[in-house]
Point group: C3
Chain length 152, copies 3
């Protein structure tokens, strides 16, 4: 687990200056890693000034995903990565995709491309031990994730 350094997270307003849809860049440093982006997402929720609604965190890549899991012990997300690696081998004679990163595509679909989190009184409603993780499966790369907040 790596916390996204503040300097690596850069918000880009969409062309329409719609403050409910922002793109946040991040740089991953390993082939596979889970990066806790909870505080970056909360920052966008705060900036949006939307009190109640739904926050969608969307990953626009096909070899990365997003999931919610424990943010207390960093070994938890390491164990998730380890078991995904064991179950979905990086190299396999049966893979047809020529880029050699089929495992990363499969893991991305297993984790999913978005998570939905309720917003109440301007705060992401997460359980005590929950954090939002950007899941890199084919890094290191320059990546981004998108945060959208729908007013309820």
């Amino acid at each position: 687990m790596t916390r996204a350094p503040a300097a690596a997270a850069k918000s880009i307003k969409s062309a329409a200056e719609n403050n409910m849809h922002v793109k946040i860049e991040l740089k991953t440093t390993k082939r596979g890693e889970f990066i806790d982006v909870t505080s970056s997402v909360q920052k966008e929720v705060t900036k949006s000034a939307i009190d109640n609604g739904l926050c969608i965190v969307f990953v626009p890549h096909t070899t990365a995903g997003v999931t919610i899991n424990e943010n207390a012990d960093p070994d938890v997300v390491k164990d998730i990565l380890m078991m995904l690696d064991r179950q979905i081998p990086a190299a396999d004679h049966a893979y047809k995709h020529s880029e050699g990163n089929s495992a990363a595509h499969i893991k991305a679909s297993l984790m999913g491309s978005s998570v939905s989190v309720i917003v109440e009184k301007g705060k992401l409603q997460l359980g005590t031990w929950q954090g939002i993780y950007f899941c890199e499966f084919d890094g290191p790369r320059h990546r981004e994730f998108w945060v959208t907040i729908i007013h309820s």
Copy 2:
């Protein structure tokens, strides 16, 4: 599969009395089990008096998840649990998380922390055989899930 007894489901209005975001408690009785919460969720949709929109069922735990699958034959969810157990071993020398429940964390991310269901005319729009299941992977425990309805 266990149907949540009516007595175990207790709605708690949020402090703001926002009737679109409620917390429902449930008690799980096994290490791993899928509990059909569809009728509890429908009850909240009905109480909300929101005719059309989107219902989000969110699980605020990191060793439990939520999924939609068959509600006709209880053997289906038993088979899902069995295969997850076989693929993600409970004990493994490579797990680093000291609490010994890494498998439950991994299964939680595989199932996901929320499901989204369309609401039309005050009814959850589910397929004929679909039910919403709270997925316990590290019970028995006192748990909760959150129901939020966004007006469309």
Copy 3:
């Protein structure tokens, strides 16, 4: 990967003529296949005339799912199907569900029953290589998926 033929996609307005919730039929032709439905979904977004919001694609079946993954090289989704087949065997002595399609139910929950995609200026906001795939795991069958758009 098979692109849904235009003729197979038929929109059905809901009884209330709510143009934000439509059902699209499709016919699958194999036991397991991923069908790119992105253009069918975009067509519904365009018809809805909703500029900004959230699009939910929901699959009302329990042996089919939906996921977002690469739409450039058709081998990517073939590799996902292949690895799911290998990890979740079609036949296993431990399956209890008598219909013999437990593997399809398990894969459906692994992929998930819905995806959420942001809509901006009337366009689905997807990454460069992302497509939305209907995931058939127990075909061939007549199937449907539902598209709902929530205004933000």
